[in-house]
């Protein structure tokens, strides 16, 4: 790796690997007050397909962290690890100062606290929206965490109103468009009012206006004190909705992490992460960032 500029700090160069135990202490280099402290995370699907290969990450309260990386680099997997849905085969994850393991999450109190503090909007909203009606879908999380029916109903109405989907309340989720489903998925997480929000490609499937609206919503939530971690392929809005970017390499490690401006300026880094094509240029210095492609002019192709 020779492409990093001095501006971009590496996230913890030497990964101190800790063996997972239900009471492993916070790593010594963990910044105080961090929400997530991940060290040396490794995960592979079916023990065959690597998805994370030694990932270190700290997330501080109030941050807006954007995870960038090519398809299949491990962004979704990392988010699932952060949400305690899959468990790393190696490495440790501390959330709110406590170790997250499968065993710990079986503890009633711990799991309830964890689930109500961390919300996750999945990449594929078809899987997230599983209830017979939109209203029940949005109510699901609150009811699971023991909110009263009355309070739940109130919250559901509020959140549906806020997202402008109140008229869908009694529809069945399979009757919705992709973008509407996404909004329902977002509503079903916001309704629980978690302090950490994990989004997996939240803007995919949304129309441009809704994308803009979502970007503003994220900023607004962040201003209200929420910590936000999201995976995205949308480089255009990064400076607006990220305080930090984390770039994944295709071999499932973190290449770099730093403020969006610095990351986006580093064309070599983005190229090495296979995030951009040689022929696409991100124009940073113009008032508005435009991404476009030059005509293909390599040898061997004649048009």
């Amino acid at each position: 790796m020779t492409t990093q500029e001095s501006l971009i700090s590496h996230d913890h160069a030497g990964p101190p690997t800790l063996s997972a135990g239900d009471h492993a202490p916070l790593p010594a280099d963990a910044p105080p007050g961090a929400i997530f402290v991940a060290r040396g995370l490794r995960y592979s699907y079916l023990d065959r397909f690597a998805a994370l290969d030694g990932v270190d990450l700290d997330v501080m309260p109030g941050e807006m962290v954007a995870l960038l990386g090519a398809n299949g680099s491990g962004k979704s997997t990392l988010l699932k690890v952060l949400d305690g849905l899959v468990f790393p085969s190696e490495g440790t994850l501390h959330a709110f100062g406590h170790l997250v393991t499968e065993g710990n999450l079986e503890d009633e109190q711990y799991v309830e606290a964890f689930r109500s503090r961390v919300g996750f909007v999945f990449q594929n909203s078809d899987t997230q929206v599983f209830s017979p009606t939109v209203r029940e879908e949005v109510a699901f999380g609150c009811l699971q965490l023991g909110l009263s029916a009355e309070e739940t109903r109130q919250r559901v109405d509020d959140v549906l109103g806020m997202l402008g989907i109140a008229d869908l309340a009694d529809r069945a989720p399979f009757q919705l468009s992709g973008g509407q489903k996404k909004k329902v998925a977002i509503a079903s997480v916001l309704v629980m009012n978690p302090e950490v929000l994990l989004f997996d490609e939240p803007t995919a499937a949304l129309d441009p206006r809704s994308q803009q609206w979502l970007a503003e919503l994220i900023v607004e939530l962040n201003a209200a004190g929420k910590t936000i971690v999201y995976a995205t392929h949308d480089l255009d809005v990064l400076e607006q909705i990220a305080t930090r970017c984390v770039v994944f390499s295709e071999d499932h490690r973190i290449l770099a992490s730093g403020p969006p401006g610095a990351i986006l300026d580093d064309t070599a880094l983005l190229l090495s992460a296979n995030l951009i094509h040689e022929h696409s240029h991100v124009h940073l210095r113009e008032g508005q960032r435009v991404e476009h492609s030059h005509a293909h002019q390599r040898g061997g192709h004649h048009h």
Binding site: M1, A70, K80, D83, L85, V86, E108, V111, E112, R115, S116, G119, F120, F122, N124, D126, T127, Q128, F130, S131, P132, T133, R135, E136, A139, F140, G141, L143, Q144, L145, A149, T152, R153, D170, A172, P173, F174, Q175, S188, V189, M192, S249, E250, D251, L271, S272, A273, N274, H277, E278, R298, G300, H301
Partner: protein, 310 residues
């Protein structure tokens, strides 16, 4: 370090030849196979079920009732129809059902079509041979041939039995269809829960309903994709069988992944094995009246049936 994806587009992809066939032929349309018909028929049917939601939202008699009252009444009348031994009783019940459909603003044409296609019609065909003396012994009313000096043909018992079975099938299906088209799916589910179906079943039913649509889409997609890639026409049967074999595996793979992700999505929102639901059902007086009417109607039906003889 990962390599750059400097893929070069293969030239054949950029050439203007259409597909694999250099002659540029488009091929001829072939009739749909069994699989294809079932797929398109199936998605049409599912769509129809979804459309029936707007019948369920009209303001008619049955739409105003609590789903539990409707399901309970339906069960009573079904048992009544099952116990009835006379055609007259069943026909009278059918008239009442049609009247209920009318009062619930269910278009008659739609209702008749939905009910009669295809089970009762099929039943009719199926019971026809049973009218013959070789199946149902009895008094031969229409002699068709004789065997060992015995007249053989249609028997009174056979004809009556056929009429009885067909009309009972039609009445039963009408009752079920009437209730399901006048009740939105989620209310129906709530009604089942109200009738004591355990929560885990309700949860499975609700989710399965949703995933039928998703999986049907995958099957259709897989089939379409396959069809789009298949140029030569193989024998129908074999294609269908190969398709079933190949797609079943892939479908299960998909189903597996789906269930894993749904599980994660549920767990992420605090699911720990027991789902809680928003309960909104309340039995009102009208519902109790409706139930009482159903009880009375069933009693009346059975008394009348007994009076007609055994």
């Amino acid at each position: 370090m990962a390599e750059h994806t400097t893929t070069t587009t293969p030239s054949w992809l950029l050439s203007s030849n259409v597909g694999l066939c250099p002659c540029g032929c488009i091929g001829k349309r072939t009739k749909g196979s069994f699989v294809e018909k079932t797929l398109t028929g199936g998605s049409d049917l599912l769509r129809q079920v979804m459309f029936s939601d707007d019948l369920a939202r009209r303001s008619g008699l049955l739409q105003r009732l609590d789903p539990r009252a409707k399901l309970g009444g339906m069960l009573l009348l079904l048992i009544g129809a099952g116990l009835a031994h006379h055609l007259e009783t069943l026909l009278a019940t059918y008239v009442v059902v049609l009247a209920l459909a009318g009062a619930s603003r269910v278009p008659l044409g739609f209702f008749l079509k939905r009910v009669w296609l295809f089970v009762p019609i099929f039943t009719l065909i199926v019971v026809l041979p049973a009218t013959l003396s070789i199946v149902t012994h009895g008094d031969v009313v229409v002699e068709l041939w004789s065997w060992h000096g015995q007249p053989q043909g249609l028997t009174a018992q056979g004809l009556r039995s056929a009429a009885l079975v067909v009309s009972r099938v039609a009445v039963s299906i009408s009752l079920v269809v009437l209730v399901t088209v006048t009740t939105p799916w989620n209310r129906l589910l709530a009604g089942l829960r109200g009738l004591g179906v355990p929560r885990m079943f309700i949860l499975v039913i609700g989710m399965a309903y949703r995933y039928i649509f998703l999986l049907l889409d995958s099957v259709t997609d897989m089939y379409e994709a396959r069809k789009a890639r298949t140029m030569a026409r193989v024998k129908h049967d074999r294609t269908a069988r190969a398709f079933v074999g190949a797609s079943a595996g892939a479908l299960v793979g998909k189903a597996n992944q789906l269930s894993e992700e749904v599980h994660q999505a549920m767990v992420a929102r605090g699911y720990r094995g027991e789902a809680r639901v928003l309960d909104t059902l309340r039995l009102r007086r009208a519902d109790l009246v409706a139930l009482a009417v159903a009880v009375l109607a069933t009693a009346l039906m059975l008394t009348a049936d007994r009076m007609l003889g055994r």
